[in-house]
């Protein structure tokens, strides 16, 4: 009885989470301009979007900014994560941690407004609002997300591997490059993907920081959505869902294969146990 109640709750919950996305997809294939009244199947809005320069341009701008922001914030986030995990004692550590956490909780309207006023007050350095200012804005938000993701991986990492490399004579940079980096690579990839989508999605900060000619895709969609229902928004949504769905599917297949290969290697290693007399002798001595 309780089980059935649980199952019903879960099904209703998932329906709530997915119903809106599903209707978006269904109505992108609708022939009528009224985006909520089904007439009959049509691909005409998909064809229309190919001629929609506003959306195409916005998409290109967004991707450019997202690529730059994700890369910059993963680099800065890696450094920040190292500081938080490894450097437990230095002056200003509490303030440093506050600087990493603050962008996660401060509403975007505030981040956007303050950065805009900052750029206006020193416009001789940054010039007009555009790609550069949006990039900086997104990076300052995304760095915190990247730092949190990478930090959680670093905390769980076995430090003795790095110590072993150091004992074997690696220079600090070599240790980082040869040992640490491969170990945290997966978290770097997920941090990059996360920050990429955050940047690609961002409306509020971009609205404050964009200038003429740098209207990002979310800004185009937002201005259309504000006016009412618009089939082009549905089409963009469907394409996003398809790309994300495919990405997640491929990603999980790849992860499963990695996992299987690792399990096989481990099993193979256990099948042929190699005695290591040298090590034992060294310990005995």
């Amino acid at each position: 009885m309780r089980n059935r109640f649980g199952l019903t709750w879960l099904i209703c919950g998932y329906a709530f989470l997915y119903l809106p996305i599903l209707t978006l997809i269904v109505f992108s294939f609708n022939e009528s301009k009224l985006a909520s009244l089904w007439t009959h199947f049509s691909l005409k809005w998909y064809a229309a979007i190919l001629d929609d320069t506003e959306i195409i341009d916005g998409f290109l701008v967004s991707v450019k900014i997202a690529l730059m922001s994700a890369s910059a914030s993963v680099i800065l986030g890696t450094l920040a994560a190292f500081v938080m995990v490894r450097y437990t004692r230095f002056r200003g550590r509490a303030l440093f941690i506050a600087h990493i956490n603050a962008p996660l909780v401060v509403p975007e309207v505030i981040t956007g407004l303050s950065l805009l006023l900052f750029f206006v007050s020193c416009d001789q350095f940054f010039g007009r609002r555009g790609l550069l200012t949006i990039w900086i804005g997104h990076t300052s938000i995304c760095t915190s997300y990247a730092a949190v993701v990478i930090q959680s991986r670093l905390v769980g990492m076995d430090k003795s591997l790095e110590e072993a490399a150091m004992d074997l004579g690696c220079k600090p940079f070599q240790v980082f490059y040869l040992v640490t980096l491969p170990l945290i690579a997966q978290s770097l990839v997920s941090a990059w993907l996360l920050t990429f989508t955050i940047s690609l999605d961002d409306v509020v900060t971009s609205a404050f920081l964009s200038g003429p000619g740098t209207t990002t895709l979310p800004l185009v969609l937002f201005s259309r959505a504000r006016l009412g229902l618009n089939p082009s928004v549905n089409v963009v949504a469907t394409i996003t869902v398809a790309v994300v769905g495919l990405g997640v599917l491929l990603g999980s297949l790849w992860l499963a294969r990695q996992e299987r290969r690792r399990a096989e290697e481990q099993a193979a290693a256990y099948r042929n146990p190699k005695p290591e007399p040298d090590v034992e002798a060294a310990i005995a001595a």
């Binding site: 309780r2 649980g6 199952l7 709750w9 919950g13 998932y14 709530f16 989470l17 997915y18 119903l19 809106p20 996305i21 209707t23 978006l24 009224l34 909520s36 009244l37 800065l76 986030g77 450094l79 500081v83 450097y87 230095f90 200003g92 440093f96 600087h99 962008p103 909780v105 401060v106 509403p107 975007e108 309207v109 505030i110 981040t111 407004l113 303050s114 006023l117 900052f118 900086i136 990076t139 300052s140 760095t143 600090p172 690609l200 999605d201 409306v203 509020v204 979310p218 969609l221 937002f222 959505a225 504000r226 229902l229 928004v233 963009v236 949504a237 996003t240 994300v244 997640v248 999980s252």
Partner: protein
């Protein structure tokens, strides 16, 4: 000479100090420059006196007298103007209501997820996080198509002869609430799930062996043990929904004035930069209160665990 320079760069003390300093310094300077400093500018602007379109300096030094000129009229206006007071009160109320609804819907959801067969759990978890990867703007927009007078839900109800004329759902506090709950529900579910899935189930068995009824066990054991998740989830829902702009703008009616929207209008429609800055500062103050409570709780529970 070259040799000496090389030695200098390779001296271990310097290299360590230099390396550590730059690892700390680069992200630190970036965030100070592009996060704190801009906020200080906002604060300065909110108390700056204006002369036409120019801002007067905060400090003046005339004939040996240092003058600090602080304009408080913006803040006085914020605290006395009934529309602003209403806006703040309304935002807090909606954010709190959103948190409570997310908790009521999300807690059983996370609970049943955590108690599902272990083989299902990764899939169930992935299904909760998956919508995150699609644009949240688009997901909010989707509710427009569902709740509109001509929308899917009204059309369905009319088709099923439940109602004769469409119910007004769009551009009300109801539609905004639906959008808020929909957007923030995963933020409640995920921390709850991670505390519930780690729970030691033998405690429940012990309780039932000692004669506790399932509901009693739930109240006395499960809920207290998931307190950390409840608090973390509530923070993740309450704080961002306080400053929400997109959802009230797309789904709310004209009467649903939330602070984030007010700030936006002050800046973009009224072009009143000092007023927008004052609103921003007061918003930060408003956010600091729940954050301080949260930090205190975390410090307390850390101390209790002896960590």
């Amino acid at each position: 000479m070259m040799k000496r320079i090389e030695n200098f760069w390779h001296s271990p003390a310097l290299r360590k100090g230099w390396g550590k300093r730059s690892v700390i310094g680069i992200p630190y300077i970036f965030l100070i420059l592009f996060f704190s400093l801009p906020f200080l500018i906002v604060f300065k602007l909110s108390i700056s006196d204006t002369e036409g379109i120019r801002f007067k300096d905060l400090f003046d030094y005339i004939d040996g007298v240092a003058i600090l000129r602080v304009r408080v009229s913006n803040y006085l206006f914020l605290m006395t103007d009934s529309l602003y007071v209403y806006t703040y009160w309304y935002s807090i109320k909606l954010a709190a209501l959103n948190t409570v609804i997310c908790l009521i819907v999300g807690y059983p959801f996370a609970y049943f997820m955590a108690r599902a067969p272990a083989t299902w759990r990764p899939t169930l978890l992935m299904l909760v996080t998956l919508p995150f990867w699609t644009s949240y703007l688009l997901r909010v927009y989707a509710w427009k198509g569902l709740l509109d007078d001509n929308g899917v839900i009204n059309n369905f109800l009319i088709w099923a002869h439940v109602i004769d004329s469409p119910i007004k759902m769009m551009y009300t506090s109801f539609s905004m609430m639906v959008g808020l709950v929909y957007t923030y529900l995963p933020f409640m579910i995920l921390p709850l799930y991670s505390t519930l899935v780690k729970m030691n189930l033998t405690l429940l068995e012990a309780a039932s062996d000692l004669g506790a009824r399932p509901l009693t066990t739930f109240w006395l054991i499960t809920v207290p043990l998931s307190k950390a998740g409840i608090i973390a989830g509530s923070m993740l829902v309450f704080i961002p929904s306080l400053g929400e702009y997109v959802i009230p703008e797309l789904l709310g009616g004209p009467e649903t004035q939330m602070i984030g929207r007010t700030l936006w209008n002050e800046f973009f429609s009224n072009n009143d930069w000092t007023m927008a800055s004052a609103v921003a500062v007061s918003m930060v103050v408003l956010i600091l209160i729940p954050l301080a409570v949260f930090n205190k709780y975390q410090a307390d529970s850390g101390a209790a665990k002896g960590t």
